[in-house]
Amino acid sequence: MKRVQFEHSAIPYLFVAPQIIIILVFFLWPAAQAIYQSFLLEDAFGLSSQFVWFRNYEDTIFSDSWLQAAGFTIVFSAIVTFLSLALALLLAVKANEVIRGASTYKTTLMWAYAIAPPVAGLMGNLMFNPLIGDMYKFLNAIGWDFDHKLDSFDAGFVVVLISVWKQVSVNFIFFLSGLQGIPKSVNEASMMDCRSPTRRFWTITFPLLAPTTFFLMVINITYAFFETFGIIDTTTRGAPGGATNTLVFKVFQDGFRGADLGGSSAQSVVLMIMVLALTVVQFRFIERKVHY
């Protein structure tokens, strides 16, 4: 047997080098720093620090405020992911049926994608402003005693609403292209096999979209965990009483507002581990079921 040998050269490594350097500098290095910091306790002025083993972890993770944030993050992420996927799917299915003026319709629905989370947050802030906010007035006018500055449910409602609105457009684009990827003849075959459109959706369309849905679920959970930071920072800032603190926002608050670098680092490390675990679960167990 003769083996084909290609000549080795340094050029491929040269091409991947920038990517590797970026990962090293902006990801691995800070992560290592966080792990290192999480074992240290700094004095109030940041002048000296002391190695304290796992004390930072014990102090933060078992604190009520962290558990509250963890609880909120999970519920918040679940609701945001579910709602933004469900709404986007509904819109995509409807948009896919439109024949006349389809492109206008689609472009309109995609616009929100171009808006950065902090900007979305600022817009939301205006809409829910007690003095000039239309949404604020509207909700109170229909009989909901709405006040997101005081009521934690109402505050949660605001961040969920803005986060979902911002994310629907991304999901919409993916679902729409997923729907357009289903061969026309498969749809037609199912029309001859099944009278009910609802049943056709759940037995044919939805299973065929499963890979898209799975991919979007991963993206959306990540979004709800991390990117909603910008929205929370510009609207509730965790208020009232930490009721809308997500874990990421709490890391930022404790570290930069509270100047507790050790505790904040410990939280980030826990967050990293959670994300890692989530990723493993998603790819190991769910992905296997969705590909056909």
Binding site: I99, P183, S185, V186, E188, A189, S190, M191, M192, D193, C194, R195, S196, R199, T203, I204, P207, L208, A210, Y292
Partner: protein, 358 residues
Amino acid sequence: MSKVQLSNVIKTYPNGAEAVRGVDMEIQSGEFIVFVGPSGCGKSTLLRMIAGLEKITDGQIHIDDGLINDVSPADRDVAMVFQNYALYPHMTVRGNMSYGLKNRGMPKSEIDKKVTDAAEMLRIGDFLDRQPNQLSGGQRQRVAMGRAIVREPKVFLFDEPLSNLDAKLRVQMRIEIKRLQRRMNVTSIYVTHDQTEAMTLADRLAVINDGKIEQMGAPIDLYNNPETLFVASFIGSPQVNLLPVTFDGQHLVNGNLKLAGFSDLPNSKELVLGIRPDELSLDDNGQFPLRVDIVEQHGSDNLIYGGILGATDDGVEEMEFCFKTSQDMLPDLDSTLTLGFNAERAMVFDKTTGDRLR
């Protein structure tokens, strides 16, 4: 066992394309009908209107005595086999075949029995638990057929079901489809642009041209007695030889050629003479000098292509003719053969209208 009746069926697409321009047709119970015609003539559109996948712009379609214009595809009791199979990729073969029955609320035991029977008939019993992407093209085609068969519909619809298969498999499946249809005796409509499929499968053949039925009848009648120039040139392989001519009262004339044996033809019109390649013969007194260009050996017979000396068409010298002859006939290239034909069997068409004159 069902009749299908089309009355003045018209389809105009929203973009203005007039795909079907008024089709009348009566299909008897258990008949195998083939739609054949050039690409874009409206075959698929017509079939899809019967299936319910395309709205009927005007006219009526009846299955048995029921008007089905506004009946949904699932309620028409027709089954369709698509060109690209259109299997559900996320379901097993069994799932694909039982889906339509499940949705019609058939009990599971009955479904299982039908699926097993059909799978056995189509020799896909071993693949029932595979996904479509684990099957070859031919196997997928069988599954698609199976999905239609288990439904036991009133009408089978096929839209070029074999065109994605290789030549050998195509012949095999063609025979199998015919056998199945005979056995099940279900009214079938089959769209193809393959000559051989059309000729061999059809009880009756409908030649469609530009959204209209040009001629309909038994395949052999269409071959022997085409009513128009279009049908004559579309049916028959190799194609009929066509020669533009005029009539001088006794002869058909083209350039130096004067062909005797014709009468009762209009004097002033441009005509077209059609002679099937197998109607030509070697004849020392023949009227066609053919300069040999290419000899194709097909096994049992040879096709000899060449130019007819002295014949012209719009400035093209030496009109190409095809001569079908036996295996042992192997003339040298550029040699000249003298061919004759039987004027009784030759066809004459009006060049402008395409109508057959004799």
